[in-house]
């Protein structure tokens, strides 16, 4: 029997780092959204990097949750960068008709942190 797993959220200076390491189910994704907002509130983090290197499907439901995470974090004063989106995932997102226009993206965690630094300056 599967159960909802918690995605670990690490703090590094003013940033939160999240690496999603397994297939996202709906409950885990919704729990993550709640945990992330709580953590931003507790820590006053100004940047968030969510690494999606290991994620090989993002459907419209998960995409909506990720988009909501970005917008809600922004309201709380934190900029989100999504990193490591696989080419196949990027293609399916576009074909689904989901636009990530206003969302910051970078190649990997390291580049994501660099981008956050640039955005702050």
């Amino acid at each position: 029997m599967m159960k909802t797993s918690k995605i670990p959220i690490l703090k590094l200076y003013n940033n939160l780092l999240i690496s999603i390491q397994w297939e996202l189910d709906d409950k885990t994704a919704m729990q993550f959204q709640e945990d992330l907002l709580k953590k931003i509130h507790e820590t006053g983090a100004t940047g968030v990097v969510i690494d999606l290197t290991s994620v090989d499907v993002i459907d419209s439901f998960i995409a909506k949750i990720l988009g909501d995470c970005v917008n809600m974090s922004k309201l709380m004063g934190a900029t989100v960068v999504l990193t490591g989106i696989q080419p196949a995932v990027a293609i399916t997102l576009i074909e689904l008709g989901i636009e990530l226009e206003d969302i910051h993206t970078a190649l990997d965690l390291e580049k994501g942190l660099e981008l956050l630094k640039e955005l702050e300056d």
């Binding site: 599967m2 297939e23 090989d56 459907d59 419209s60 909506k64 080419p87 196949a88 399916t92 989901i98």
Partner: protein
């Protein structure tokens, strides 16, 4: 996996199970990474619609062969409330649940063939095919 397999969709874990089964079948058939993602995403959208709107149903995954062609056929079937206006449901952005409304029109773009049949009070069947190139 040979021939047909079927996943009952009752809860959100079943959506993950259907996806994994579909990806496995797509890989076995020789689909590349992008097509595997398309097929898996399509299954996810259809399974989620069953879970959200029909309170349960089934996803069938078939390996199919026709003359020189090989492919995968996904059938999503439920006995839910049905879709009153299919044309509207196929529009980008149309949703009755605060979703993105990208599921059905998106699945149509992701796959090569798309059939939908729905009757109010009886249920919905969506059948999609991806051919191996």
């Amino acid at each position: 996996m040979d021939g047909q397999s079927c996943v009952m969709i009752m809860n959100e874990w079943d959506i993950v199970a259907a996806r994994q089964l579909g990806r496995h079948a797509a890989k076995e058939l020789g689909f590349g990474a992008v097509d595997q993602a398309r097929i898996t995403t399509a299954i996810s959208e259809l399974a989620r619609n069953i879970y959200h709107y029909a309170n349960g149903g089934k996803i069938y995954i078939d390996k199919i062969e026709e003359k020189e062609k090989k492919g995968i056929k996904i059938t999503a079937s439920d006995h839910g409330p049905g879709i009153p206006d299919i044309r509207k449901a196929m529009e980008d952005g149309f949703t009755t649940s605060g979703g993105l409304g990208a599921g059905l029109p998106g699945v149509k773009r992701l796959m090569d063939e798309f059939y939908i049949d729905s009757k109010t009070g009886e249920g919905t069947v969506v059948q999609v095919v991806k051919w191996l190139r």
